[in-house]
Assembly symmetry: C2
Homo-oligomer: 141 residues x 2
DNA sequence: GCTGTTGTTACTTTTCACGTTACACTTGAA
DNA sequence: TTCAAGTGTAACGTGAAAAGTAACAACAGC
């Protein structure tokens, strides 16, 4: 229940595709080597990114390419593509408070008031960072 | 690696202590019943809150009480008390990118640039919500 | 001294992310 | 048309982290 390592791998892949996509065929095996992950994990991630229209992957012959300008790919979009309900999973709630207790009975809706604010703030924060910013950082580190 | 259910339990306990602390002795058994958790979990949570000076717990005879005004207890403070390094655990990073790849070699520092911004935004967001707000919500749900 | 409670350790159970294997399907080239 | 190289996806195994549980010493008040 968090922003998973898969998002970091996704960003890694996207930078890789942006930097090398036109020079060589970028396959899941190659990305698995670069990220220290394995090809199936990569394929699942690329598949999710594809469904969101961020990249296109050639079936059969292989190879991935960006299908979006860098500044339209926000962290929020990546996270949501990889894990559609990452927001609700972000903050854990104890599942079985006592319904007999006045506090236990209402705690979930009470917590939701505040947690919703935090989620919205986080979304805004994630939307503020685009792949363009990250590629810029990459060239300046 | 997320904002754990323990934080939600902690908030539940704090509301309970605020509402009933002066009417009856609030023990870990009682809080375990109300939260649907178990006494040891509660004791660990209360212990962490105590170390941060948020509450005081009577050893031997039992019973917990707030030792802070409501509006000085922020969500940030609660989260940090419960899990000191919740920030770094929030966002997962793939641990073994290839050092032979120009991207793999630098991905960690590149990601840190953006992730640090996100963490800071989240901290600010958590500091904006106090137990006073939450108790207010509790009385208005 | 007895009872109820906390503080803490160690052990067990459960859950979940991740890796692994396997295989059908697709494409392009020999 | 056959083959090699890839993708897409499902099923299963595994290992680590979270949570529950049991046990017990230390303490306060009756």
């Amino acid at each position: 229940m968090h922003i998973s390592t898969k998002c970091s791998i996704a960003i890694h892949c996207l930078i890789f595709i942006y930097e090398y996509g036109d020079k060589r065929k970028v396959t899941s095996d190659l990305l698995a080597l670069s990220t220290g992950s394995n090809p199936v994990t990569i394929r699942n991630i690329l598949s999710a990114l594809k469904k969101d229209g961020i990249i296109s992957v050639k079936f059969g012959t292989g190879g991935a390419a960006l299908s979006c300008p860098l500044d339209e790919i926000t962290l929020y979009r990546i996270c949501r593509a990889i894990e559609p309900d990452f927001g609700t999973k972000l903050i854990g709630v104890h599942p079985l408070p006592s319904p007999l207790c006045p506090i236990g009975k209402n705690i979930h809706s009470v917590l939701d008031c505040s947690y919703q604010k935090i989620r919205n703030d986080l979304y805004k924060s994630l939307r503020n960072i685009t792949l363009k910013n990250i590629v810029f950082d990459y060239h300046n580190v």
